[in-house]
Symmetry: C2
Subunit: 235 residues, 2 copies
Amino acid sequence: MPDSRIPSGDPPSDQSVPKVVVSRLSLYLRELQRLQASGQQTISSGQLGALLGFSDAQVRKDLGFFGQFGYPGVGYRCDELIHAMRDILGTNHRWPVVMVGAGNLGQALLGYRGFGRQNFTIEAAFDADPAKVGGTVQGLVIRHIDDLPRVVREKGIRLGMIVVPAERAQEVADRLVAAGIEGIVNFAPVTLALPPHVQTVAVDLAIELEQLSFAVTNKLAKAVAEPPPAEPGSG
Amino acid sequence: MPDSRIPSGDPPSDQSVPKVVVSRLSLYLRELQRLQASGQQTISSGQLGALLGFSDAQVRKDLGFFGQFGYPGVGYRCDELIHAMRDILGTNHRWPVVMVGAGNLGQALLGYRGFGRQNFTIEAAFDADPAKVGGTVQGLVIRHIDDLPRVVREKGIRLGMIVVPAERAQEVADRLVAAGIEGIVNFAPVTLALPPHVQTVAVDLAIELEQLSFAVTNKLAKAVAEPPPAEPGSG
DNA sequence: CGGTGTGAAAGTTTTCACAGCG
DNA sequence: CGCTGTGAAAACTTTCACACCG
């Protein structure tokens, strides 16, 4: 991997943006939405950073990749910044998603309300097990995986989630790619081999615990993210 | 965040190890276990890297943080390296884990077989909902969250998972910390405020899709250079 | 040979520090 | 004033390249 950057054709910059910046963008957005819901109108880079354990400079630098959104002496207007960030991340429009694998985890994901809040909808769910096909989960009929190409085409779906056992994940990935899917979230604990034009994000639940195991074992000192209001005057 | 490094008191090095190295370690381990299961005895840094999209030098450098594991001209012996990596990550011994939140996702996690393979066991599950407490999910009785401190103490549990709605996550985190938990995997879409000695790993399912949305959107934007729209801020 | 381990170089990301603005 | 936006410096991570090994 020569580079962790991303080609970008965005108006405010023709430069590439580091992946880690985009991941922080999602955190900023999540925090901003919470602030907005609690009625806050504006926020400074320092405040936003403190909530997430980042420095003020980091917040400003990250946003600077995409344009100028702030007001000197004031900070950022929550509503404006939320709209801008959703434009950047692409979540101002709805994303229909297909899911393959209607086991335990897949069924739970079908019921997860958090996707809708960010404009993602699981439009169709698939499985290869005849015992599951035709059944209804969370109001959605499970379809046979052979229907995947037709559904993807008819509904113009670009994103997919893989929630099948490790042994079947590569095969499912191949079918998603063949059906025209452009991005995959992979919950199976394997690394997928995919053509370079297909984007992936991997989530391995056991690895998350493993990272924690290391951290706890090595008693990592965390120098960050202590936002409770115990600190009176920060000046 | 002044530093993403980790103080380590390990024998082979008293140097600190970047977090990103530890995350790759988990990927190496996962791949090695797959190779071992398929009967492969040894593997070179180049082969292992190719399976994961990393360079040979990266693999060697990463391993080099922890010691010398290879044989020049041969590569690494899968069984030896697996054992060494599990020692480093701390998964050569069993980790009992508590889970708080027995909703859709929590119940699915109780049934997830992947944890056991890496030596994690969900020993107890908790909820605050009286309708759920006392019920059995995946063979485990759901307990009331008030029992948390006692169970954590009696079973010597150090890790916890938060699988409750966003609004309740901080309160649950506080209770986990009060009970003596040292590391938390947080599935709720909020950033937790925690004392620095408590480790966290965050998994936000909507954010994973959001990252994909960005990647897919910007990969396709090629020769589309439009004039910058008038920005509000201090331009 | 084919491969590891590792300094040194190259490249990337974060922090610093300050001009400038409302 | 308080805060943004941003070059420049510092810190960190990855890649290179090569001595050395079986």
